[in-house]
């Protein structure tokens, strides 16, 4: 009985993992297959679909998504720092309530937030803000709660005695933030910003309401095409954008060092 169970368990584990890997493998294969028919024979593989990506119909949305994600990442990092500073570092009276307020957008589904913003911009007469400005606004609402949470997490863990030590050595409050607080919470800040970058770069439910002709993000461009055909060039776009995201994560990691153990925590 136990033996049977163990085999059954391992088999189901393998099947589930195969289920997880399957569509991703298919996309990779599709992106290098010479025709729309997928082949798993490496001798036939080609990079011709990737060559098509430099066309402006793919490059422009990519650049927009990149700029959007970059702006959103930087802004939500800055705003998140400010908010977390008051809430988690200074722990000003009412900080728990303020934190709840700051993360409250998480309780609202993205599609609902998207509707709210598009209705607000259209019916209040801010048509001009549809497109990039609206996208930035919406994406910040999406990413800020996560970023605040991650920075606040780092700041809650920040050892206040380090601050006292710096203070008695003559550091002013500005110097303490610059030389002690920021370097120590940097991993938290950068993991928050990385998360924001991925969320923004991949976003669909908010962007779908706010893009305009000529101002369309990469994921929206892809799904618009997907509704008509499963052109292998779409597979190449997807693979390239995944590669780009992985590269971005590595870059953030190099700067922020959030995965490495910092020489942290005095005993």
């Amino acid at each position: 009985m136990d033996r049977f169970l163990s085999i059954f368990f391992q088999l189901s584990l393998i099947l589930i993992l195969a289920f997880i890997a399957l569509p991703i493998l298919v996309v990779f294969a599709a992106s290098v297959s010479p025709t729309a028919t997928i082949t798993f024979d490496p001798s036939q593989w080609t990079l011709r679909w990737f060559a098509a990506l430099t066309a402006s119909r793919w490059l422009d949305p990519f650049l927009l998504s990149l700029k959007l994600a970059a702006v959103v990442t930087v802004l939500s990092g800055l705003l998140g720092l400010l908010a977390a500073y008051v809430v988690a570092y200074r722990k000003c009276p009412g900080h728990e309530a303020i934190m709840a307020l700051l993360v409250s957008p998480l309780a609202v589904p993205q599609i609902v937030k998207g509707v709210a913003i598009v209705l607000f911009l259209s019916s209040a007469g801010f048509y001009a803000l549809l497109g990039t400005p609206g996208l930035i606004m919406a994406h910040i609402v999406l990413t800020l709660p996560f970023v605040v949470r991650m920075i606040a997490g780092a700041m809650y863990n920040f050892d206040k005695r380090l601050d006292q030590a710096a203070r008695i050595l003559g550091a002013t409050s500005f110097q303490r933030i610059r030389f002690i607080l920021l370097p120590i919470i940097k991993p938290g800040l950068f993991s928050g910003m990385t998360f924001a970058f991925i969320l923004s770069f991949n976003n669909i439910p908010l962007s779908v309401f706010l893009v305009r002709p000529g101002e369309t993000t990469l994921p929206i461009t892809v799904i618009n095409h997907m509704e008509y055909s499963l052109d292998p060039v779409l597979a190449a776009v997807n693979v390239a954008s995944l590669a780009f995201i992985l590269a971005a994560i590595l870059l953030f990691e190099r700067i922020g060092g959030f995965s490495a153990q910092i020489h942290g925590g005095s005993k």
Partner: protein, 294 residues
């Protein structure tokens, strides 16, 4: 002595602004959330109570929603789809989470990476993969036709099956994570103790692991249900016109029918649905924790 008193008396008035100034850094984030979130949400909720043409305050939009068979069918499809996704995710996540919680093998890292990293790929890539696999001339149907098992392609996309498969794939990592936390919290010594007392693996799972991981199961169900019910891209692509849910219908309402108050009603109903489930879920979880004394 009196000079000290004067000093502190002088300091009093400056006291309050000094304390308030500590909150100043909150202004930028709060203003952004105000403009981009609170005001739009308020406006949308307000709009849902107004007549589209006359602008008069009314409940008509809600009445219309609940009297509209198309809408009710959409609501039903949303609930059915989310329920199925919640079940599939939890059933599939459980063995993976259990393995991750208990295994000491070096494959553990590999399994963990396999289970979690697809999240980085984004919804579009995965949906594209499923479409290639599931569509009428996709991998599965081609294989089955070629082998002569079927003559007509099986309807695997543009319907419930396709959407549930796609969403299960999207939500699975979250189910795994929430079950993982729960199972990791169960003392492995309990299992050893039961083993010493002569329990078989089956009865250990039945009498120890399953009961103690009920909170994890509940939170996995909840997270999967809410994520599925508010998902947009996967239903839009794998369900398409053949399987419309509230999220995709809201989108049509905003961009094609341009009926804003009605779109607002749908969004508000979706929101209320989510909040209700989250509320009930929190209550159930709290009760479970009390019952299991954890």
């Amino acid at each position: 002595m009196s000079s000290i008193e004067t000093l502190s008396a002088l300091r009093q008035p400056t006291h309050l602004p000094v304390r308030l100034s500590r909150y100043f850094p909150l202004a930028p984030p709060l203003i952004v959330l105000m403009i981009a979130f609170a005001i739009p949400m308020g406006m949308m909720i307000g709009l849902s109570f107004h007549d589209a043409d006359t602008g008069i305050l009314t409940l008509d939009n809600y009445v219309r929603f609940f009297g509209d068979d198309l809408m009710l069918a959409g609501l039903w499809r949303t609930a059915l789809m989310s329920g199925l996704v919640a079940l599939c995710v939890t059933v599939m996540a459980y063995p993976v989470a259990y393995y991750l919680a208990r295994s000491t093998s070096r494959w553990r890292v590999v399994v963990f990476a396999l289970a979690i990293t697809p999240e980085l790929a984004g919804v579009v890539l995965r949906t594209y993969g499923w479409l290639v696999i599931l569509e009428d001339h996709g991998a599965i149907n081609n294989l089955l036709t070629w082998s002569g098992l079927i003559s007509e392609p099986l309807p695997l996309s543009k319907n419930l099956i396709g959407v549930v498969i796609g969403l299960t794939h999207v939500v699975l990592p979250f189910g795994i994570l929430s079950l993982l936390t729960s199972i990791q919290g169960i003392d492995p010594n309990l299992e050893r103790a039961a083993q010493i007392l002569g329990s078989s693996r089956v009865s250990i799972i039945r009498h120890i692991i399953l009961p103690l991981s009920v909170p994890g199961i509940v939170s996995s169900l909840l997270i999967a249900f809410t994520m599925a019910a508010s998902a947009y891209a996967t239903p839009a692509l794998l369900g398409g016109a053949g399987f419309k849910v509230i999220a995709t219908m809201v989108y049509e309402q905003v961009l094609f029918y341009i009926d804003w108050p009605f779109a607002a009603v749908m969004a508000v109903i979706l929101l209320v649905m989510m909040l209700t489930i989250a509320f009930i879920g929190a209550r159930v979880e709290a009760r479970l924790h009390r019952k299991l004394h954890i």
